[in-house]
């Protein structure tokens, strides 16, 4: 049976190539377990990057909820994925009541006693991160959650 190892290698190579091509074409990754973070260009290579954050409003004070703050419930990567997923669903107009309920319960987990939450898109030029000590981003409110 051990000779089949080389066929495994071949299968793995073919499936990886197929995945590479299909991802490049904007499709789903076909070969789920053995993919890798590709980083074909440096992160932030585009002139304008979008990012999504939740803001909590509490007695006229607005608090930007950071991903790295308190990672007991969710890892920072998971938080980023959750927030950007709902932001994109809302922007595409495909949002359901169930999504909004899920987003609200997530927000409540992140900041318990807020009066209101804002889901905000932040746009900025990544080069500013490198070159300047401070930088500004354009904010656009996507939705408000009460």
């Amino acid at each position: 049976m051990k000779k089949y190892t080389q066929y495994l290698f071949l299968i793995s190579a073919i499936l990886s190539l197929y995945s590479l091509v299909s991802v490049e074409k904007g499709g789903r990754e076909f070969y789920p377990f053995f993919g890798w973070k590709l980083f074909t260009v440096p992160y932030g290579a585009n002139e304008l990057e979008s990012d999504y954050r939740l803001y909590a409003i509490k007695e006229k004070d607005t608090i930007r909820l950071s991903f790295s703050n308190d990672e007991t419930l969710f890892h920072r990567n998971q938080k980023a994925k959750i927030v950007s997923y709902y932001a994109k669903v809302i922007k595409n107009g495909k949002v359901t009541d169930k999504d909004m309920k899920a987003l609200k319960s997530y927000a409540k987990l992140m900041y318990k006693d807020a009066d209101e939450f804002l889901l905000v898109e932040e746009q900025f030029n990544p080069k500013d991160l490198c070159d300047k000590n401070r930088f500004s981003f354009k904010k656009q409110i996507i939705t408000s959650i009460r």
Binding site: M1, K2, K3, Y4, T5, Q6, L8, F9, S12, A13, S16, L17, L20, E29, P32, F33, F34, G35, W36, K37, L38, F39, T40, V41, P42, Y43, G44, A45, N46, E47, E49, D51, S66, F67, S68, N69, F74, R76, N77, Q78, A80, K81, I82, S84, Y85, K98, K101, A102, S105, Y106, P126, K127, L129, C130
Partner: protein, 239 residues
């Protein structure tokens, strides 16, 4: 939990909702037992069983609205070694083991190769997008990853990036070595070097890119460790 959203077809099958602790731990127990039995009495069927269980167990870890690739290397080692049974390997079977190494290292080679393809494309098409060749590429990558994690970049890391030319050369060299990883599979000495290089690469990512691939370091160390230097066996070259 309502935030849980499976993104693979396998996930929808095995974990349509977030798994309860009892369900998850019983799967863990099964996997543990299967591994113990496969150590005592190795068989291909058991290997397949272990591989499927470990693959499934790794699914819900990154199942919130999109899959990460956590632990993929770990699962892959079990996939590539399905047909390698320690009790039936002799020294002339080393060829098979080389394919096992090659299968794992291929992921690194592809990742490196694709960076070269992308660099080539950028050079040819006059894209305004930054490529790995640009002077601040590595620094930008670091700054962005920390920024998206809402974490301050340690001062020392920013200072290290002051050596601009050094980073351009290092980046290209790193991508080149990454692409050549697969050659290590066919030469034991080169394999040890590849292992050391890839571990350094992951340690860099851990601190400079703030991406946690620490599991990969352990997998590389266990899989590619030059055991033959320390353990002399008569009949068995590989372990």
């Amino acid at each position: 939990m309502e935030l849980y959203r499976p993104s693979f077809y396998i996930q929808e099958l095995v974990f349509p909702i977030f798994p309860s602790e009892v369900y998850y731990f019983s799967l863990l127990l099964f996997a543990f037992l299967a591994i113990v039995i496969s150590v005592i009495k190795p068989s291909v069927v058991l290997n397949v069983f272990v591989f499927i269980l470990l693959a499934i167990l790794n699914l819900p870890i990154t199942a919130y609205n999109g899959a990460g690739h956590n632990n993929h290397l770990f699962v892959m080692v079990f996939f590539m070694s399905l047909f390698l049974l320690p009790n039936s390997l002799t020294s002339k079977d080393y060829k098979r083991v080389e394919y096992f190494y090659a299968g794992i290292l291929l992921t690194y080679t592809f990742a490196g190769l694709w960076k070269f393809v992308s660099i080539g494309k950028d050079l040819l098409t006059d894209n305004p997008r930054l490529s790995w060749l640009d002077i601040d590429a590595a620094k930008l990558n670091t700054m962005m990853n920390y920024y998206f994690a809402d974490t301050l970049v340690p001062r020392i890391i920013i200072q290290v990036y002051d050596f601009k030319l050094f980073w351009v050369v290092t980046t290209i060299l790193a991508i080149l070595l990454q692409t050549l990883s697969i050659l290590g599979a066919f030469n034991r000495r080169l394999l040890s070097f590849t292992m050391i290089y890839l571990i350094i690469f992951h340690v860099y990512n851990l601190y400079f890119v703030y991406v946690d691939f620490s599991h990969a370091i352990w997998v590389l160390l266990v899989t590619f460790f030059p055991y033959h230097i320390f353990v002399k066996c008569k009949n068995i070259v590989v372990s």
